[in-house]
């Protein structure tokens, strides 16, 4: 398996008044193709800040992020756009992550068109991808508020995978959904994982869910990675006190 994403000694600080908080503190990890890496930890532990730095929504204070061996921090313009075709993200609240005035189909096609794919071709690809994600053609012509949360999350997965990214980041992608809907989305993600060789970075606080989906886990606490291993190793034989506490808190 080849390394898709390498994160090296990443640091991010936020200052609030005179106080400085190290949200991400010397974090390094890799994600390989076909692998699903889970990032768990409580709110404020720095999980989402890492995702934001990978997607260039925040800039790191120190350290590097490499996609296929190439540094991607601090890129601008055309170069940056080229990189971000390969990294896509699915957000927690699907309805908020679509433009409310665009039909779902147009929202899904936007990225492809920005990357120079012709409209008819983009439309064809969009319809195919909707089908893969379990939505029929008519959903392309609906607005985000006209579909349920689960359907909208399927559409946002379609939007993410339609450009064939190398890395898919899911930030709490199922936590706003009902359990029955969550089960369907998880099934879809598992199916996509077995069919193509995307690398996944799953940010999730539901340990039972990461145990089902992920190949490897990172446990974060106060900006640092405190434990790594396979989900079964970590859940059945946690080494750190924090990890034990996290696991004991699950009902």
């Amino acid at each position: 398996m080849s390394k898709i994403l390498e994160v090296r000694q990443l640091v991010k600080e936020f200052s609030k008044g005179s106080k400085t908080i190290r949200a991400v503190d010397d974090v390094s990890f890799d994600v390989c193709s076909g692998e699903c890496l889970g990032l768990v930890g409580e709110s404020g532990s720095g999980k989402s800040t890492i995702a934001k730095m990978i997607t260039a929504l925040e800039s790191p204070d120190a350290g590097g992020i490499f996609l296929d061996g190439k540094g991607i921090t601090g890129l601008k313009g055309r170069e940056q756009r080229a990189v971000y075709k390969d990294i896509q993200m699915v957000f927690q609240t699907p309805t908020d992550s679509f433009n409310p005035r665009l039909k779902l189909g147009d929202g899904i096609m936007e990225g492809m068109i920005n990357h120079g794919i012709s409209r008819p071709e983009a439309r064809k690809k969009m319809l195919e991808t909707l089908k893969i994600c379990g939505l029929s053609q008519e959903y392309a012509d609906r607005y985000p508020h006209q579909v349920s949360g689960g359907e909208c999350q399927r559409a946002s997965i379609a939007r993410a995978i339609v450009v064939n990214p190398k890395l898919l980041i899911c930030d709490e992608a199922t936590s706003a959904l009902d359990v029955t809907v969550q089960a369907q989305i998880v099934e879809l993600m598992r199916q996509l994982k077995s069919e193509n060789h995307m690398a996944y970075l799953m940010i999730c606080h539901d340990l039972a869910l990461v145990q089902q989906l992920c190949d490897r886990l990172l446990v974060m606490y106060q900006g640092k990675i405190v434990e790594t291993g396979t989900p079964d190793e970590i859940i059945m034989h946690p080494r750190e006190d924090y990890t034990k506490r996290l696991i004991d808190s699950v009902f």
Binding site: E42, S43, G44, G149, D178, V179, T180, V181, Q182, A183, V186, H205, D206, L207, A208, L209, Q211, Q212, D232, I235, M236, H237, R245, L246, I247, D248, S249, V250, F251
Partner: protein, 261 residues
């Protein structure tokens, strides 16, 4: 036979004259914890909103009765209902932050609520609040009491709301997704605190949640709602471990369970 603390008799609730909830009958005794589970839109929150008289303008209980200690709360006057809500029946909302007044400090709001129901010693209120904050992992309680809601995180505001409902030690506590906005470690703490209140004060709790793990840990009885109807109701162990109805099986089957080896 003991009179139930709370009883729903064949309750139908309508919004704009369209029945959203039909034929729900439940009853609970003092000291009991009842869990109501179901998907969003199944009507689980609507049931407890109806008991607290919070259905809003367009909603009403169109059939049946809701009895608190044998008294139909639907026929109560405003004043009588006010005396019941707070000291007798408390409620924790899903998003407590938005239930707090944005322009007054947490401490002032807490004291106001306590004064309304008889406790006037500010220092005593403060001490009690600080002790309770501490038990649910809010360690700088003094700062919180002097803060405005917007200065606190969502999880902190949620815990403030939880303390405000629990500090009056109501006989019956309605909790509408009380821990969905919290981290699992904090959730565990809040759940334990609720259980402790039942141990110490015999508080009865109706907990509405989609978290089946929390319900199976806390509740004595479980009611499963689906599309406005009660599909299954019984002892927690029976319903969770041996569900009879297809829908319950599907719902429970969809919950990922942690494997601990």
């Amino acid at each position: 036979m003991q009179q139930p603390l709370l009883a729903f008799n064949n309750v139908e609730i309508s919004y704009d004259d369209e029945a959203m909830i039909q034929g729900v009958s439940l009853k609970m005794n003092k000291g009991e914890i009842l869990g109501i589970v179901g998907e969003s839109g199944s009507g689980k929150s609507t049931l407890i909103k109806a008991s607290m008289g919070l259905l809003g303008r367009s909603g009403r209980v169109s059939q049946g009765e809701i009895l608190y200690q044998g008294q139909n709360v639907l026929n109560l006057g405003d004043e009588a209902f006010r005396n019941l809500r707070g000291p007798k029946m408390g409620m924790i909302f899903q998003n407590c932050g938005s239930a707090l007044c944005p322009i007054r400090t947490i401490g002032d709001q807490l004291c106001e609520a306590m004064k309304e129901h008889g406790q006037t010693d500010r220092q005593a209120i403060k001490d009690e609040a600080l002790a309770m904050f501490d038990r649910i992992h809010l360690h700088d309680g003094d700062r919180i009491l002097n803060s405005y809601p917007f200065e606190l995180s969502g999880g902190m505001n949620q815990r403030v709301g939880i303390v405000m409902a629990m500090i009056l030690k109501p006989d019956l506590l309605f909790a509408d997704e009380p821990t969905s906005a919290l981290d699992v470690t904090v959730q565990a703490q809040v759940v334990k605190e609720m259980m402790a209140l039942r141990e110490t004060f015999g508080m009865s709790i109706v907990i509405v949640t989609h978290n089946i793990g929390v319900v199976s840990y806390m509740a004595d009885n479980v009611a499963v709602m689906h599309k406005g109807r009660l599909v299954e109701y019984g002892k927690t162990r029976d319903v969770i471990d041996h569900p009879i109805k297809d829908y319950t099986r599907q719902l429970i089957g969809a919950v990922p369970r942690i494997r601990r080896g």
